[in-house]
């Protein structure tokens, strides 16, 4: 049972320095420790029940590559765990042997030769076994390495270009017909059972694309475009995250992946190919005016309008995306308002500036954005 006392505290602006933080820490430590002390009992259960798994876990494979990697993991795990247990058993046995001495015990300078030979042979055997085990592991690892690449050159992969930005993901579904390309952000939809080719590049610093339920990570290095292939099998929602430290908001550079049946995927992608929905209500129309006449358009694109900025995420179908700020917050009206008003409070350091809308204007703007399904 979890009695979560976690408030969704928006991070305060970070103007602290080292010394003030030290003082702050002192006052908070005690409170936090007592608040969470009850959880200690739950932890043991979590670990024993194999706390591994979930929507962002390497051990809950949802695709071809990840299952192979998971199998490899369990092979390595069982072998190394066995080795560990044996070594510890020998250590404990050595300690348990009742041969005690103290600092006055005469050192054994000429140990019994037959015993030394026997021990020596044991050591040699242990080294030999270690070598064999390592070699076997190397072969298994190599085989898996080959196997997870077998999709390379697959005839009809779904091609997606992922561009890393500080600190969000630009995602472009590429089609043979350029007008069918779809640009979105921080959200991937994938058809189950179809190979996917990810083309990776970075716009600024090094990022790393990691989607543990589907594949291992790959670095996005500026001017080193690279690609990898994988195939999702299980439908569901998964999370990925930047895995190479990329600066201030590295922690909040997440993305969500929805693996769905091919027909659902087709429905989704054709919806995404539409230009943005025209505003229907008055509020939405006013909101669109505010959007188009304000600073928003300098960075954001909404297809079907004059907004064509490329600096920030494409907002054409922003309302269809469940999160904002690269997985920082669930997209609710309230969060959207807070985000527009002061993104620096939620995700300090990003390039989106604060804005100062009158409350009704803000309402209408959010109304408009919510209509961009």
């Amino acid at each position: 049972m979890k009695v979560k006392k976690l408030k969704q505290v928006a991070p305060v602006e970070d103007k602290s320095n080292f010394l003030s933080a030290l003082i702050r820490v002192g006052s908070r430590t005690e409170k936090a420790l007592s608040a969470g002390a009850w959880r200690l009992i739950a932890f043991a259960a979590v670990i024993i029940s194999g706390g591994c798994g979930g929507a962002q876990s390497a051990l809950d494979a949802a695709g071809v590559q990840a299952s192979r990697l998971e199998n490899l993991w369990w092979i390595f795990f069982s072998v190394t765990a066995t080795v560990y247990v044996i070594v510890m058993a020998v250590l404990l046995a050595a300690l348990a042997r009742r041969r005690r001495g103290d600092e006055n015990t005469a050192p054994d300078l000429a140990p019994d030769e037959r015993r030394e030979t026997r021990i020596g042979n044991t050591v040699k055997a242990a080294v030999a076994v270690t070598t064999v085990i390592l070699f076997a592991l190397m072969i298994v690892s190599f085989r898996t390495g080959r196997a997870i690449q077998t999709l390379s050159g697959s005839p009809q992969p779904l091609q997606i270009k992922v561009t890393g930005h500080q600190w969000w993901w630009e995602i472009e579904y590429q089609d043979a017909v350029p007008s069918n390309n779809v640009t979105t952000a921080n959200e991937l939809h994938l058809p189950a059972g179809r190979p996917v080719k990810l083309v990776l590049q970075s716009n600024d610093v090094i990022h790393s694309f990691w989607l543990p339920n589907l594949h291992g990570k790959k670095d996005l290095i500026p001017n080193y475009p690279t690609a990898f292939y994988f195939q999702a099998e299980k439908t569901g929602t998964f999370w990925g995250q930047c895995a190479e430290y990329c600066g201030y908001q590295h922690a909040k550079m997440r993305f969500m992946v929805t693996v769905e049946a091919p027909e659902d995927f087709d429905a989704w992608i054709s919806a995404q190919r539409q230009t943005s929905a025209a505003p229907a209500t008055d509020a939405q129309k006013r909101g669109q005016q505010i959007f188009l006449t304000g600073t928003c358009t300098q960075c954001h694109t909404v297809q079907g309008t004059i907004a064509g900025g490329r600096v920030g995420p494409n907002l054409t179908h922003v309302a269809s995306r469940p999160y904002i700020g690269a997985g920082s917050l669930p997209k609710t009206r309230e969060h959207l308002q807070n985000w527009i008003t002061d993104p620096q409070k939620i995700k300090p350091g990003i390039r989106m500036p604060m804005s100062n809308y009158a409350p009704e204007d803000l309402q209408d703007l959010v109304e408009y954005l919510e209509s961009l399904k």
Binding site: L6, F43, A58, V123, V205, Q241, E244
Partner: protein, 670 residues
Amino acid sequence: MADQETKLQEKEDWVQSADITPETIEAERRELEKTWAEPRGVLGWFTVTNHKTIGLRIIVTAFIFFLFGGVLAALMRLQLMKPENTVLGPDLYNQIFTVHGTTMMFLFAVPIMQGFGIYFVPLMVGTRNVAFPRMNACGYYIYLIGGIMLFVGLIINMGPDQGWFSYVPLSGPEYSPGHRVDLWSQVVSLTEIAALIGAVEIVTTVLKQRAPGMSLNRIPLFVWAQVVTSFMVIFAMPAVTLASTLLSMDRMMHISTHFFNQAEGGDPILWQHLFWFFGHPEVYIIFIPATGFVSAIIATFARRKMFGYTPLVLTMIATAFIGFGVWVHHMFATPLPQLGQSIFTAASMLIVIPNGVQIFCWLATLWSGKLNLKTPLIFVIGFFAIFVMGGLTGVMLASVPLDLQLHDTYFVVAHFHYVLIGGAVFPLFGAIYYWFPKWTGRLLSERAGIVNFLLLFVGFNLVFFPMHILGLNGMPRRVYTYVPETGWGDLNFLATVGAGVMGLGVLAFLGNAVYSWKFGLAAGANPWGADTLEWATDSPPPPYNFQYIRTVQGRNAIWDASADAPVVTGLSVLRRETLATTIHDAAPNNRYEMQKDSIYPFLLAVVVGGIFTSFIFTPWGVPFGVVACFFVFFGWFWSNSAGHRPFTHGKIQDEAKEPPAHGEPLEVNG
């Protein structure tokens, strides 16, 4: 043992029943005390060149940095205790994890290991000081300046925030404006220069100043570990010193070179190669000295000669070699050619074999010894339990496919803390318990030591074991926070509790050290019945270490010594003289005069520190600094030479017997 019996006695010309009488002993000791007396006063603090004073200063300084780094770690654990925590903001968190990593690697782990080397290598090889005492002192001050610079930076909000491996382009001029990265690269350069100086000291001392009879195959394993490490330092550290200098030149406004700027032919991946070419050997630079501690402790407390001396030496050397061939396993996620990856996988797995051999030899020694279960040995047992697990997770990380899942996650954080804390910090604590009596003349409390061990051991596993699971569950390293939906909160909370327990363990140690320093049991020269030469002199040792340098008759210098083993006489007691011996056989070669105490090492360190500090902001400090360096060096050498005996043509040659042609007649072992 008969053939091991030294043949020194056969050289009757040299071995003689000299007239050691109570009077000569006392008279010579008085003169030695005067000749080697440590300078006093504030000025004396800056002029001292005794390797024990400098070594202990390095150890204490590094331990203080360890405590600072630990405080930073505790702050990070508090921030990560629960999702969306606000103890630290991203800016401060990023500074703190960078400074934590930099401190632990550059200001704690490498220097403290070298500090033990500087203190104990001359004692263990039975000489009176390191080869170049003034350079040695200079190295300490340079290191100190670098360390202070880092923490001053953190306090004035100039702490580096780009991660301790400073990947470009994030650390380049475009994405890290300001001077935080510049400060980092100067700190790195300074501490690495200090490490290089220490390495040269240790290698030269071991090559040329071993006690007569301590041939290569009789060097204690601790000393071997220090030598192998020093060679690794010599070949690894230049890469990072150079790389960080090039980085700061790329960043410097009036220089703006393009080493890592892709637009102009540079390469960001080049940085990764340069950094990891240093960075992975660095791990062994920290770990191999710790194996020296483990070997020293195990032999003493298992009450037997080491099982597998030769394999242990060879595996150290093998580890050092292979350690230079595995750096790319830090870069498996970059777009690298397949063939390269396979080779580095093979090398990374291969390096497990020598480490395995070491573990097995130690276990064999423990198995067949009569164990004296005291705190140093208990910490070594903790070392086994933790380090072996770290080694095994290392096998996982060597596999390219698995590494793609585990790389840069909390699994890796767990792995390298198991390796570094298990492999280096636990042996280090064991070593402190082992040698504390040598430094202070008093034993640390055994009972407090066991409390200290238990807190540290339990706390450590509470902090770091859950991190394996966190990593598998998708938590990347270096995140300042995480959202509640990730489900990482519980294990992170557990880790934070563990950090508190570890902190208590360190406090228990500090309490023990302070108490025992004043009130501990008196130790005597050799409280553990150990076998290396540092235990053959007083605790703490006199400034000249040994009134009579010992001769060595076997691998276990004290245990193998016969009752009538000769001692060395005839070294000047009026000058700081010691014996230089030949490289292979340690046959007496010549008398070697040590330099005197001097203020110049400190002055040089100040000038060098000034050059590097100014280089954070402007290149123009360099030419002035170089000129200043020249003057300091001039004074340095001139003051040294001025105290030297004048040369008279052939006088020394004439007076002496025909000197042996480079050691030949003096070969100890034929």
